[in-house]
Amino acid sequence: MASDRPVHEARNRLEGFNADRERVLGEVERRVVSRLVARAAAGGDDSLEYVLNDVCVNELKRLGAAHEKTGRWRDLAGRLGSMSSAELEEELRRIVGHFGRDIVGNFDPRVYRFATRVMTPGLGFLMSPLSSLKGGVAGLLRELDSRVQVEGPLEVLRGIAELGTLVVTPTHSSNMDSVVIGLALERAGLPPVTYGAGKNLFTNPFISFFMHNLGAYRVDRRLRFELYKEILKEYSTVLLESGYHSLFFPGGTRCRSNMVERHLKLGLLGTTVTAYANNVRAGQPQRRIYIVPATINYRLVLEAETLIADYLAETGQRRYIITDDEFSRLGRIFEFVRKILVHEGGVVVRFGRPLDPFGNDVDDDGESRDRSGRRIDPRTYLLGGDGEVTADDQRDAEYTRLLGRRLVEVYPRETVFHATHLVARVLYDAVCADAGTRDVYKLLRLPPGKEIPITAVIQGVGALRARIAGDRDAGRLHQRVAAAGDTAVVDDAVRALGSYHSTPVVERRGDALRIGDLELVYYYQNRTAHLPPERKPQPTTTSATARPPGSAAAAAAAAPKEAKA
């Protein structure tokens, strides 16, 4: 059972991190410098002068002419041409050390205990102030347990956490994700993880204290020079080799559209192969790396409004880093936590079965299995013709691509649908059927305030539920959704969608549901976007046959058939 307390808890290796920090940093510095020096010796565009110049140019561009720190870079850029190779190497070492320190995290076991035993009740207090006063700390913990729901093969994951290094790879919808996944791991008896968090998050007063001390390291996405990426990847590699359980969001940034991620950023994910290869080379092939896919499924998303607006903005205007969203306003977080997480299971974290760095399945004993289920030795993927471990970046990048492909297959299957997703999908389908297009830009230009008969929505939800229940790859219904009747699901979704966002997304108007914010209907329905529309929009000449416009029921009636096809 998902809510059972773990039989045993995996060991928290991060407890030793602070004592180990200088070694990790030194190792990163040593490796990056020696690699770049070797590359420079090979000639071509990889000279140290070129590498350092790239840093200078990018930093000068980023900081702008007026910034006080530009002097250092301008000075270095001016001296580069006349520096000896020893001086260049020394400068490189200094820069690598500097950015390494900028990245590295802290882990404070006291804060960790505070965070998981005290901060969580703290969050519980936000969630439900009245009962917290009555029930005391124990009651709060129990309550919290019921809010962040954790599912998946937890016993297996606890077992393999002792055999190797876990790399948790969740979908990414919200800045709340790192807090939520932290709670989920704690609840599941899984060890805490270290992870890269956007440096902008560290400016949030509410969260930065915990981030700093819970093993988060800082990723400054404004730094665009290659050397920074190299340092970041090496840091991750050393952490994985050293056995520090980690977390990456393979989607990169928060998913703007709310669609289950299909395009992954493979950079950090690729450090799993590198770390494993290093372990094998060091004569430690038993030190495995396990990739653990996970989905984080919110009933409502804190930053939905900002994210979808950004997604819908014309290409080129999208912002890579958003700093002024709902997450930056403390009041909004409080409101979110009160209104969303007050619902039991308002967030579901679902873990999937582990994979190895080559995209192979991993069995309950932590051993890799090929696609036909044979037990295989993952070490063999790194071997050359005569059984020696070979270095081949292109090969490893391909392995990571295969791993990414597996993750993209797993995510939709492990997605958990809330009532909000289902009802948004039915409403959106009805709007599309009526307008004769699924093009969101066209739909957004239609007059607002569309009303859909509630009976059609209830019927549509029934059909959609049947479709999801009948298709193992489509995702899963939230336990409460699966247990409730269609009408209750619709009521529940309307309550949620009508309560939190600035304007009610949907409102009850007599016998109909009035759409107040189509952008957000689109956003929430996007979680189901991997389920193809019931019927392709047909050319008008052939399919103007009996389908009354706007009838969601008619569209939904085709659902069970589609599901079998």
Binding site: F358, T380, R395, E398
Partner: protein, 326 residues
């Protein structure tokens, strides 16, 4: 000799055997694996493969009947069995190789549920470093010492590199490299289908003008399917596609070409007599439907093969559709 320098070949068919001959003559170490004891015995005693009468296999070519022996002797494996045997032979191979093996296949067909063979290899064996070889290197040319070329496609540079290192034995065989696995596999499969179409066209004596149109339009529609499936459009105009079509159409004894000629003679041909190319035509049409790609030539051929249309009607329809499109 290092295990890395040995070429393992699965299947003692015409391609596998002639490749072994060409490689061994150039000094490569080759091990052929065949399940059929009588074939292995014949090769050992007579140095000739019953399936490729004529040329002798150099003494250096070893023959084994135990898949384990092949996996142990060679890290680089060419999978060259008939498409109908492929699933069963892959299941067997999967039990003996490991993640260190490089596997390239030479099967110009889609298998099972219209799947590419490289996908089947990934699914049926532990091998991930896989690739495909294809192109106008006919068995008789390989064994006869004529010039021939093939393309190897793999996502892994290492597979391309090793294939070129081990199989490139100019002038008999030149190997070019590509990353377009999807394109090469589809091109190589569809080349068989268009070879059937050309046999049919030649059988009804269509003349050089329409014949040229047929070939160029075949390249165009196959390129569309390749692109829609994630391949590169230019691949079909290369060795695996056009190169294959040009060398095989007009070739007496080519099963696909002969099937086309038999159709032209009005012979009733049931699915049991279908060649690889005929099956590829049907598979290609199914794939095109799924990808929403129009392929009038292939659709016409498929309609004739399944007896839904006469040759004349199919030819007229294909010509009209092709003309209407441009």
């Amino acid at each position: 000799m290092s295990r890395a320098d040995v070429v393992g070949i699965v299947g003692a068919g015409t391609f596998g055997t002639s490749l072994a001959i060409a490689l061994a003559r150039a000094g490569r170490e080759v091990v052929i694996y065949t399940k059929t004891a009588s074939v292995a015995e014949a090769i050992r005693t007579t140095r000739r493969c019953p399936r490729l009468p004529g040329p002798e296999l150099p003494a250096s070519v070893a023959v084994v009947t135990d898949a384990r022996a092949l996996a142990a002797a060679a890290r680089y494996v060419v999978f060259a069995v008939s498409s109908t045997d492929a699933p069963a032979r892959l299941a067997e191979l999967g039990g003996v190789i490991d993640g260190s093996h490089l596997v390239v296949h030479a099967i110009g067909a889609l298998v099972g549920d219209d799947e590419r063979v490289s996908v089947l290899i990934e699914r049926a064996t532990p091998a991930l470093r896989v690739g495909v070889v294809a192109g106008p290197a006919r068995p008789r040319d390989l064994a006869g010492g004529e010039f021939g070329s093939m393309v190897v496609a793999s996502r892994f540079d290492e597979v391309v590199r090793e294939t070129r290192r081990l199989l490139n034995v100019p002038p008999v065989l030149r190997v070019y490299g590509s990353h377009d696995v999807v394109g090469v596999e589809l091109a190589s499969a569809l080349a068989g289908a268009y070879t059937v179409a050309l046999g049919l066209a030649d059988g009804i004596s269509i003349g050089p003008g329409p014949r040229a149109v047929l070939i160029t339009r075949a390249v165009a529609e196959a390129s569309r399917l390749g692109e829609a499936s994630g391949g590169q459009s230019k691949t079909f105009a290369g060795l695996a596609g056009l190169g294959n079509v040009l060398v095989r159409s007009g070739e007496e004894g080519d099963p696909d070409y002969e099937l086309g000629r038999a159709l032209a003679r009005g012979e009733a041909i049931g699915p049991e007599r279908f060649s690889e190319g005929a099956r590829a035509a049907l598979a290609g049409v199914r794939l095109a439907r799924r990808k929403d790609v129009r392929m009038p030539l292939l659709a016409g051929l498929a309609a004739v093969l399944s007896g839904k249309m006469s040759i004349r009607d199919a030819a007229r329809l294909a010509a009209d559709t092709v003309a209407a499109e441009e």
